[in-house]
Amino acid sequence: MEVDPHQDREAQAAKVSGPPAESDPPADTLATSLCLLGNHMFPDPVATNACTSINSSEPASLQPSDVSAEDPGPDARPPPDLGAESVTQDSDCQSDAPAHPAGRGTEDAGGAQSDSGEFVVTMLAKAKLEEQGIGVKGRSSPLLEAGIPEPPSFTSHRDEDVTADSWRRHRKHVFVLSEAGKPIYSRYGSEEALSSTMGVMMALVSFVQSGDNIIRSVYSEEHTVVFLQKGPLVLVCVSNSRQSEQQLRGELLYVYYQIVSMLTQASISRIFEHKKNYDLRRLLAGSEKILDGLLNLVDSDPSFLLAAVHCLPLASSLRDSLSQILQKAITPNLVFSILIAKNQLLTIVQEKTVIEDARLAPADVHLLLNLIGASSAFQAGEIWTPICLPLFNPDCYFYAYISYLDPPECTVCLLLLSTDKEAFYAVAECKRKIEEAMVAQNSLSLIAKAQSYSVSQVGVSDLRHFMYKPFDVPDNHRQLTQFTSPEMEAPYSSEEEKMRLLDLYRYMHSRIHSTSRPLKLIYHVAERETLLAWVTSKFELYTCFSPLVTKTCAITAITKLLRWIKKEEDRLFIRYPPKYSTTPNPSKSSKSSRSDQQDATDNGFLSLL
């Protein structure tokens, strides 16, 4: 176990661990590729035209040279979250820089990494300018345009002027495009207005690809650009949030999975095999809100960072009785029954053979929770919709029955997943049974009383907040990965402060999970608080203390905290997810699947679908 007592030591260590010379070549390669790209993509006349035409309409401020000059301006504030460590952070980034094989870095080694990064940002901005001249006219097809008229309520942030400074200053941009360079999604600004920006991104990807390589990231002083290729889709994140590349890539993966959850991986590949330049927005139209919601959640909910599910604390007796209600209301082909309150998990019951073969991944639960949370469309009527759980099986649909149990408040939501497309009426009948039983046991009013807890209940002074994620231990290996965390209270009550604390946690997380130099224990004295992160074989823990705590105090506090969690674990976690058996097919007995668990994992289940 390694203890870093002071950030200076940490800084030093990070610098030592990052061999500076080796991280340069890829950057140079990139810079060069960008130059080449410039020539390929924007034959001089076009590029000049684009710039000049814009210059005339909106002077000075839009010149590409200004773009890079401007960037440090508004963004130059020292990263507020990292206290004294902003410098360390930078050198860290370098040490984690893309691990391209160094062989390609033969070009002149003059350009510093940050220059090339800034150049990318400039290039992207330039492409955006060109947009204004060409992109608007070059709409794909008027027919298509007519097919998807977007009402204003959906499009507020999509109307954003993508040439404006405010657009450029967003903390985190996310773009999704097809391999043909067609825009599919942009978090801010309309995809049409960004089509040539995305063209440049695709050009970067394919240029590096042509050298039998894969582009992973570009670093500049202010921004980190992370690329993720998944099948025919390319996802790009441009962030100035100072998160690690790994974390950003993880977030892009969530975006990809959310898209898969709506369309399935198989149909995405099939579509693009069939027609390379298909406009996937045709299929995703109306789902932008779900992706927007996901990205907001990723920024504000640590579940995604920890890849664990946060369940609502509930007396174990109540949770058990709810589980039993779900357990009794079954119908053939029902595989998951999930009860959600206030966008947190109450309980989850799984089909026996399913839980034996594969467990529900936290990410799949996150996607489901986001789907329900992001859309008020579920608040009326009973919904029946196909949904794919990408980590469970990326190629098949489940059919989800979604209904709130307490209209019009709509806080308690029932989610029933079936493999049978036609089972709506049978599944709806399960809901009536569940509803009746819950009325009989007065469950709804008991659930309404349930709430998250305050850190003061732990009874450890100086402890302000924590996140505790126990790891699987062998005997409950098939369980859902969960974590527990109290409400964020003062001084973390405002949105800004919450975000600041989360950023600190993200930073600690990135150090713990650093690929080049993972740490087990970090004691981090920040400007306004002291944090301690600790990972063992049994748990991962992040704690936040008041700034004046001593190291000894913090260690004692953590011992007390762990003891408290142990005492409360029945309430804080779903301990033994119950099961039921609804599979009508006797050939798929649990015995046969146990004998060859390894290869039966998905195939066995596919036969059910």
Binding site: A146, L263, G286, S376, Y425
Partner: protein, 264 residues
């Protein structure tokens, strides 16, 4: 699928189909809740139960998005009435009905009735602004935009803000779909279904122009349909009692019983 006995077993099924953003959810919401609100894109299909006298009518409000196309025939299975909805300010939304949605109704009842509904009439028609459920169809503004209708390109000039308050101030949008177009489509639907125009419900009765925003014609639409599907309910109950009586309409269709079995 097991036939489950329900407390409120729906007697008849009605399905709303149509391209996205034509206002299917808003229409239903206007009818059920008596108000208009901003809705957000429907996911999958939403199931509602409506009490109509002694009968339970189940209504499926479906998503118009292509993403959910695959489930369309499931929602339509055994339907007694299908409301095909388009947006009067959007020619493409009418064309989509024929291209994308008509085939979904193959699983509906053989004696299913079809209504064609042009929503957002308040955007093009001053009458629809004010008259609440007058039931009188606007006659005056039909012809003037006829010449535009085959040119989808003009759509880009039309901002179509369905919930925009601007329309109340008398700012009228271009009407792209005339009633005649809907009537013509209704005829084609009957032909597609192999129904005889003379013995089917007349287009005049089954083509509506509505406004979910002002409530114009909305009650008339739903109540006309409910009244029309009542025979279907009665016949169904009749059949359930295993009556030997021969139904003339069933005979005409020939394959009448095929879609009946699976749904409620």
């Amino acid at each position: 699928m097991p036939d489950v006995s329900k407390m409120k077993k729906p007697d008849v099924k009605l399905v709303l189909l149509g391209d996205m953003n034509v206002g299917k959810t808003s229409l239903l919401h206007r009818y059920m809740e008596r108000k208009f609100k901003d809705t957000i894109s429907t996911v999958g299909g939403a199931f509602f139960l409506k009490q109509w006298g002694p009968y339970h009518i189940s209504i499926w409000d479906t998503a118009g998005r292509e993403q959910f196309h695959g489930l369309g025939s499931m929602y339509c299975r055994g339907a007694a009435a299908v409301i095909l909805t388009y947006d009067v300010t959007n020619w493409q939304s009418l064309a989509e009905l024929e291209e994308r949605f008509l085939s979904l109704t193959d699983t509906a009842n053989h004696d299913c009735i079809y209504a064609l509904v042009g929503n957002k009439a308040d955007l093009t028609d001053p009458k629809a602004h004010l008259c609440q459920d007058s039931g009188v169809l606007p006659e005056d503004r039909r012809t003037e935009c006829e010449e535009e209708r085959t040119e989808p390109q003009v759509l880009s000039t039309c901002p179509t803000p369905p919930a925009s308050p601007a329309s109340l101030s008398g700012l009228l949008l271009h009407k792209q779909v005339a009633r005649e177009d809907a009537v013509a489509l209704y005829g084609r639907i009957l032909r597609y279904k192999g129904l005889d125009e003379k013995s089917s419900l007349p287009a005049d009765k089954m083509c509506f122009e509505t406004s979910a925003k002002t409530g114009y014609n909305v009650d008339a639409l739903f109540e006309t349909l409910f009244d029309l599907v009542l025979p279907s309910i009665l016949r169904k109950r009749h059949e359930d009692q295993a009556s030997p009586t021969v139904d003339l309409e069933d005979c005409r269709e020939g394959s009448g019983k095929r879609v009946r079995a699976s749904c409620c």
